[in-house]
């Protein structure tokens, strides 16, 4: 049985339409036009125990709404959702004692308390048995390198330090499921890597199921075997990162470097499944579809025309793939 089972989940918000200007604001006091916003328009998915799933989509697509419903702090308008056999919003207290949630934009810690006191307080809130707590705490402090921060009040931490503390705090009670909502937002490169390493180990060594939302496609490439794309409240794609690429456009780029620009200029790159992307001094970039034209065949053809000093194959950046998917969907909508 999957750990998370979501069927036909929909959420509609009623929002008041704002009229422009001060006069409009005054009119809004007396007469309001309400509008329905379909944040989630019937989504279905399963997540198995131990999966590490990326959940991406443009702003306002419904990512946070999904996470909030799964975390039990928002009721859906319709649809069902079972997490470890519980309906999150009906069994809120039992449900939240088994999960960990981290919001990148907002700390779960106490602003004025030193990190270690926040941890101790969480132990009491979650009723973590003393021995379990000591084990978890010491392990997390070592993994996230928190020792020097323990006596610092949370408000004095840098964003990266705060994020590491927040992650540790979300795991003190040993949840088997972790929701990460934009955990790397605004972080420097070093902190991002630390967070990624940590999440990967947590998933691999402790079999913690992770659902991760992010705008940083490097997070997805570095961590997730599976990615779900949401747009306009619907799941647009669900599968492996490679599968996503294939679905949108199955294209790779062969980069060929020559010793001189004249040699590069000589190269003819036309034919079935091949497209010249750019020719820049001594470098040529050729896009090709590996299913219609295998890389080896293409390279063979190029070598027949001259000897490059280097060549390598690039994946299109996942950003591009995702942007195309969003665009494709918007066109269908209109």
């Amino acid at each position: 049985m999957p750990q998370i089972e979501v069927r036909g989940l929909a959420k509609t918000f009623r929002v008041a339409e704002r009229l422009p200007g001060l006069a409009g604001a005054f009119r809004g006091l007396f007469h309001r036009r309400m509008r329905d916003v379909h944040a989630l328009d019937g989504i279905d998915f399963d997540i198995e125990r131990g999966e590490l799933v990326g959940y991406i989509g443009p702003n306002g697509a419904g990512k946070s709404t999904t996470i909030k419903i799964l975390a039990g702090i928002l009721n859906p308008t319709s649809g069902t959702c079972r997490v470890d056999g519980l309906t999150p919003w009906r069994d809120r207290r039992r449900h939240v004692s088994r999960i960990g949630v981290v919001f990148g934009q907002r700390t779960q810690l106490w602003w004025d308390l030193p990190v270690i006191e926040s941890f101790d307080l969480l132990r009491d809130i979650y009723r973590v048995p003393p021995a379990t707590y000591r084990d978890n705490r010491d392990r997390l402090i070592a993994l996230m390198d928190l020792e020097p921060l323990l006596d610092v009040p949370v408000r004095q931490l840098s964003l990266g330090q705060r994020m590491r503390s927040d992650l540790a705090a979300a795991l003190l009670h040993g949840p088997s499921l972790l929701f990460l909502d934009e955990p790397t937002i605004g972080l420097d490169a070093v902190s991002k890597l630390a967070i990624r390493d940590f999440v990967r180990e947590l998933n691999r060594d402790r079999q913690v199921t992770v659902l991760l939302t992010t705008h940083d496609m490097d997070d997805i490439e570095a961590l997730c075997d599976r990615v779900m794309v949401i747009g306009n409240g619907r799941i647009l794609a669900d599968g492996s990162v490679d599968g996503l690429r294939r679905r949108v456009r199955n294209e790779r780029v062969l980069v060929v470097d020559y010793d001189s620009a004249s040699e590069a200029a000589m190269l003819a790159a036309e034919g079935e499944g091949v497209r010249l992307v750019e020719r820049d001094a001594s470098r040529v970039r050729i896009a090709f579809d590996p299913e219609r034209l295998p890389a080896a065949t293409l390279i063979g053809k190029l070598l027949a025309q001259g000897t490059p000093h280097d060549l390598f194959i690039e994946h299109p950046p996942i950003e591009q793939t995702v942007a195309e998917l969003y665009a494709e969907h918007d066109m269908r909508e209109r």
Binding site: L74, F103, E117
Partner: protein, 267 residues
């Protein structure tokens, strides 16, 4: 850790935090103290001019005034999180954080802050009760003291409930409305005087709708050992503070409605 122990944990953390800002704490406590004394001085001026208030002596009225101030102070002490709920939790969306923890939201908000400056109202309130007790030469009997304590406990529940209701409105309005101050500050003012001086409609309102008189006037009449000009029985007077707890029960129900609204609108 059980709920009571956790509440104490929360509160001890809050205390330590406040003691770091000593000057601010002392000033605020002093402000509350002055507030309470000015209220008493106002009553005294009234009596100095008119002698008695439809048969009630200054010491008797001081008893009403001291008791309600002390009661209100304890209620407010425990309900600071509700008092600031709109700006601190709804507007910022921080209420999500409370919902993400496996504890009741009421417990977590009660533990938000133990606002020490409220001691500035609690201490003088208790001193006034003690002084009035001595001045009136009321015998120091267990049932009188017990009834006063019961009345105050009911009063704490009552004022806590008012703050919970005030906070509940924030689920609809986002910002705390000053509207409830009519019942909190206004209630303290009202309960500082004996109920019979008010109009009949007022008396009904403060007995049956918002049971302020049930945690102030009625039980204190029994403590004073005087006949109630309104003709209530000693039995009723002794049981009246239960209304404070019932009022709290209603407020908890309304609070749950508010939480349900929050979890379906997400804001």
């Amino acid at each position: 850790m059980n709920a009571a122990a956790l509440l104490l944990r929360y509160l001890s953390i809050s205390l330590r935090g406040q003691l770091q800002y000593r000057a601010s704490f002392l000033m605020a406590a002093l402000g509350n103290l002055l507030n309470c004394l000015i209220e008493l001085a106002g009553i005294w001026v009234l009596f100095d001019r008119f002698g008695t208030l439809s048969g009630w002596s200054f010491a008797e009225v001081a008893m009403f005034c001291g008791a309600v101030n002390a009661t209100y102070a304890i209620g407010e002490l425990l309900a600071t999180g509700f008092d600031q709920f709109g700006t601190l939790y709804v507007k910022t969306g921080d209420f999500d954080r409370l919902l993400l923890r496996p504890r009741s939201t009421v417990l977590q908000l009660a533990g938000h802050e133990l606002s020490l400056r409220r001691l500035g109202r609690l201490l003088p309130g208790l001193v006034i009760v003690g002084a009035a007790w001595a001045a009136l030469e009321i015998p120091l009997e267990a049932d009188r003291v017990g009834l006063l304590a019961f009345a105050m406990a009911g009063g704490v529940a009552f004022f806590f409930a008012l703050m919970v209701l005030q906070a509940t409105m924030c689920f609809w309005t986002t910002e705390s409305l000053e509207l409830m101050n009519i019942l909190t500050y206004g209630g303290v003012e009202t309960a500082s005087y004996p109920l019979p001086i008010y109009h009949r409609l007022f008396r009904r309102f403060f007995t049956f709708v918002v049971p302020l008189a049930c945690i102030g006037y009625f039980p204190i009449v029994a403590v004073l050992g005087v006949d109630d000009p309104l003709g209530t029985s000693p039995m009723f007077q002794a049981a009246a503070p239960l209304a404070g707890f019932a009022f709290l029960g209603v407020a908890m129900g309304v609070w749950q409605l508010g939480v349900r609204r929050y979890t379906s609108t997400g804001s």
